[in-house]
Amino acid sequence: MSVFCLRSTAAVMLWCLGLACAPAVLAQQAAPPTAAAAAAREAGTDGRQGTFKAVQGDVTVVRGNVRTAALVAGGVQATDRIVTGPKSAASLTLRDGTVLSVGPDSVMDLSTFDFNATTQEGNVLVGLLRGSLRMATGLIAKVKPEQVKVTTPTTVIGVRGTDFIVEENP
């Protein structure tokens, strides 16, 4: 049995894709916009917390009930969900310099992101429901690493200024 366990679980992943994964929808409270965010919006930004750097294949951004195709240079906001299809992937940079890459057949939630650029304090909470994620942490982790977390259904991952990969096989 353990011999199997050492193999890549790609076959299992494909098998899982046949199942309707219905992740629990968390009640999402809109965070009050910070003064900095408000100032940024006045000056012509769109309130984005992240920007897509690369998009390969089929990548969707789910914002509330709206699904849009991800585009390079497009924005990402807190509570967005990013869904990648087979042979698809995307990367994005968050405002504090955190880099997130999402691998094929994945579902990732940017559950929480707030960042005070002046003090460099903030919070990052990313949820991986399926697939793979690479995170290279930014300024928030440098200042207060305990404010950066990645969760999967079974695991909470805390960081100390780090570059790592997480995989989830539901």
Binding site: M1, S2, F4, C5, R7, S8, T9, A11, V12, W15, C16, A40, A43, G44, T45, D46, R48, T51, F52, K53, A54, Q56, V72, A73, G75, K87, A89, S91, L92, T93, G97, V99, S101, V102, G103, P104, A117, T118, S132, L133, R134, T152, P153, T154, T155, V156, I157, G158, V159, R160, G161, T162, D163, F164, I165, V166, E167, E168, N169, P170
Partner: protein, 195 residues
């Protein structure tokens, strides 16, 4: 007896023993103390060595393993391929007493712009800094004003406003550490991150 169920059984067996979550620490350039902490409902493991792996089972047991660069490349080729290029940093200086750049820095800004334009989804972050003359609050405001002035220059040259951020760091990060209330031109600057 059909042979159809066997592949399914094999998959079920694999699924039963596959870890639910797998965390791999990648090498940390210039950060030897970097680590991740992997916490399941019943166990906690800290990964501190490059290519160390923690595998978490459904029930919460955590197993530590070791992988290497070539296996990670095989397993995650596409994930690794979308990683953006490392950010670049530049420093611009202001004429005394205002938000106007020095002539040299005005010329350097053109180079910053062209680098940002050639990056897919390129962003410019302008971070204003002051010296330690004045209060923390007034320096926060002044450094933000300077950053916003540079941001407007960049937008004026046609760069997408949604991808230019202006940040004021005040007197928190001096290039040259000084006592409070010391006039230091090297600290009156804007750092530009292109990413």
């Amino acid at each position: 007896m059909t042979r159809a169920p066997y592949p399914l059984l094999l998959l079920l067996a694999l699924a039963a023993c596959a870890p639910a979550t797998r965390v791999t620490l990648l090498p940390q350039e210039g950060k030897p103390t970097a680590a991740v902490e992997v916490q399941s409902k019943s166990a906690r493991v800290v990964l501190g060595q490059p290519y160390q792996v923690a595998e978490v089972r459904e029930r919460g047991e955590v197993a530590e393993k070791q992988t290497n660069a070539s296996d990670v490349q095989k397993r995650h080729g596409q994930l690794l391929s979308v990683q953006p290029a490392a950010e670049q940093r530049f420093t611009l200086f202001f004429m005394p007493g205002g938000s106007a750049l020095t002539p040299e820095s005005t010329a350097a800004l053109a180079d910053v712009l062209s680098r940002a334009i050639e990056r897919p989804g390129g962003e410019i972050v302008v971070i204003g800094h002051t010296d330690r003359v004045g209060t923390v609050e007034s320096n926060d405001a002044l450094s933000l004003q300077r950053a916003q002035a540079v941001r407007q220059l960049v937008i004026g040259r046609g760069f997408d406003a949604a991808r230019v951020d202006a940040v004021g760091r005040g007197e928190r990060e001096p290039t040259v550490p000084t006592a409070d209330e010391v006039d230091e031109p090297k600290n009156r600057r804007a750092e530009i991150v292109v990413r």
